[in-house]
Amino acid sequence: YLLLGRWRKKHLTFRILNMPSTLPPHTARAALLQAFQYWSKVAPLTFREVQAGWADIRLSFHGRQSLYCSKNFDGPGRVLAHADIPELGSVHFDEDELWTEGTYQGVNLRIIAAHELGHALGLGHSRYTRALMAPVYTGYRPHFKLHPDDVAGIQALYGKKIPEINDEEEETELPTIPQMPREPGPMPDPCSAELDAMMLGPRGKTYAFKGSYVWTVTDSGLGPLFQVSALWEGLPGNLDAAVYSPRTQWIHFFKGDKVWRYTNFKMSPGFPKKLKRVEPNLDAALYWPVNQKVFLFKGSGYWQWDELARTDFSHYPKPIKKLFTGVPEQPSAAMSWQDGRVYFFKGKQYWRLNRQLLVEKGYPRDTAHNWMHCNPQTPDTTPSGGNTTPSATGTDYSPTGTTLDTTSSALDSTLN
């Protein structure tokens, strides 16, 4: 491999400026999204799509003439695409090619896009003729995957991806053939989104839900944003609440007057069901390991639910503040976390409760900064009493990792 440059940050935005005429838009889009995933699966990179405005990586199609590119293409065949190296971010495809997906005919958009993204991330051409980064296109491969030389190159630039899934989760990984997405809502910005739900899921993975999308939160960064329905088939977006119970291995999702149940990513038979004995349009849900019950929240009230017994709800809802002292009404999300504490989220802030379900000193704190690895907020939003290190505004992720260090140390204090 050859290294030509590198981005100083690892969380990049991208924007698809136009589409090829030879593929249905959702097929072309799925091919481009999959191209990003090849790289985000092997390196600690995240790619977030933006629908308007500036983006770090900008993908577009043009032909022999172009108003914004000095390098014209040459019609069908020969040069298929080109890209600038970091931190320029432009990726151009020859619109005169027959772009295809899932066939040996034409030129496979997903493979060429993955190659050009390799350049946009800093890789040059590889000497291995079977490598993705080889200069010459060797045709469609149905079970395409990166060559070891491609992986070695990207990891030389950005390090290895910290394995956040153990092998037993491999089989529950996203299907490699991109799901044909229904028209998803706009992709949220984890740094500014008020969460729909948070869940400590199977095998200790933390999931954040917003709109049609879900992403994982780890102490080394955020996972890529996936459509909720790409992971939990049949589940809608804009959820009210999500909760995983280690006692039953069930995951319950709530939206409106319905409840869905999954085991891992497989929906349980007979679901979704109608919510009858608790109110619809819940705000949040959590599993409390101390008494192994599921708590449902709405407005100022809560329900305590025993998944395996018939619960008498006649005395519910009960006042939240009677049991969870110091938390806000109408939380947007809640969860019990692996540190044994309970977290409530609302707006841009979160509250941490100790084992006695009392909000701890120095809370609320900023969710984006302490959970979503976002740039520190301006000092005036640093919550009073919080021991979050005030930081300069607008500092970007820098290669020396000062911000990353700051963020991770703040995050460490949260995680600890």
Partner: protein, 80 residues
């Protein structure tokens, strides 16, 4: 068979475009035969073709393959 000037020119353009040949910074514009031979050898080696230094059929066929528009860093001399 003897190659026409157009085929030779197309091959030199390819070697130039993809970094196998380096335009001389000063002096005459045309390339010395040994530079072209060396560039062809570098291209043939990187393409896993027989390294003949000649513009043979296999080499010309490979130059017609669809590819990425970025240069190749396979000629150590031009890479430097």
């Amino acid at each position: 068979r003897a190659l026409g000037p157009a085929e030779k020119e197309a091959a030199v353009d390819y070697l130039l475009q993809y970094g196998y040949l380096q335009k001389p910074l000063e002096g005459p514009d045309d390339f010395r035969p040994e530079d072209i031979t060396e560039a062809l050898r570098a291209f043939q080696e990187a393409s896993e073709l027989p390294v003949s230094g000649q513009l043979d059929d296999a080499t010309r066929a490979r130059m017609r393959q669809p590819r990425c528009g970025l240069e190749d860093p396979f000629n150590q001399k031009t890479l430097k």
